[in-house]
């Protein structure tokens, strides 16, 4: 039974359960690579989370474009399957209100050998960062603001030969 490849939801996910479902029944799998992105407080001092510090992020809101998001990520997985010899892939992305430390995104990939799974996982994450319609709004003691896109994320996708131009202009 093949699970849906993409899940956009407000609720949390269980990494172990997701990985188990992805590789279930496929004895050709020799490698599983997963990436979990979490809500980081950019302003937290090294090694500690100081929620009362000025600039500390107290909440994060994730908005998306329902319908387009799923379609965009499905297309990314199709592209990953064309480029890499992988057996299965799954992307889970949370939306709505989140707190520092929460899990945001999961990308999990299975393949026969590790190289392809590592590459496909990184490719999917790089692609998602600049081409999937999500927007983060962070709240600090000073108020709420939309997070700026990073040129570094465009550069990460360019390594795969794809010009993004998301953060440019």
């Amino acid at each position: 039974m093949t699970a849906a490849r993409v899940s956009i939801r407000s609720g949390d996910f269980d990494l172990a359960a997701e990985v188990a479902a992805l590789r279930e029944g496929d004895l050709g799998v020799g490698a599983v690579v997963s990436f979990v992105g979490t809500v980081r407080d950019r302003h937290a001092s090294a090694g500690t989370v100081a929620a009362d510090k000025p600039g500390a992020i107290t909440a994060l809101e994730l908005e998306h474009y329902p319908g387009m998001t799923e379609r965009a990520i499905e297309a990314m997985i199709d592209e990953a399957e064309r480029r890499f010899d992988i057996r299965a892939a799954r992307v889970v992305h949370r939306v709505g209100p989140l707190a520092p430390g929460d899990q945001i995104v999961l990308v999990a990939v299975t393949s026969a050998h590790r190289g392809e799974a590592f590459q496909a996982c990184e490719f999917l994450m790089d692609y998602l960062k600049t081409q999937a319609p999500f927007w983060k709004k962070e709240t600090t003691a000073e108020g709420a603001r939309w997070v700026d896109a990073r040129v570094a994320d465009d550069a990460a996708l360019a390594r795969w030969g794809i010009q993004a131009g998301n953060a440019a202009e």
Partner: protein, 83 residues
């Protein structure tokens, strides 16, 4: 022809979630943006040339040279920041 425009994130906060816009047949995405800017006010401010605005056509990332068809769904939004 009529197209359906949807706004997200900071553009949604400024302009509301969606609206229908009448356009001449064959208009491009860029022409639609120009029509909206020409209204002045908040539309002119947040969709101004030089502002980082991304767009989609029928739920796929698109560029402004693409032509619109009657009933098309267009999205305008800031650069994406997921993951």
């Amino acid at each position: 022809m009529k197209v359906h425009v949807r706004y997200f994130a900071s553009l949604r906060e400024a302009l509301g979630p969606n609206e229908a816009v009448e356009l001449p047949a064959g208009a491009t995405l860029g022409a639609l943006r120009d029509v909206l800017v020409a209204r002045g006010g908040r539309h002119a401010e947040v969709l101004a040339r030089g502002r980082a605005v991304r767009c989609s056509l029928d739920q796929r990332m698109a560029d402004e040279h693409e032509a619109l068809a009657d009933g098309a769904e267009v999205g305008f939004f800031p650069p994406v920041t997921g993951g």
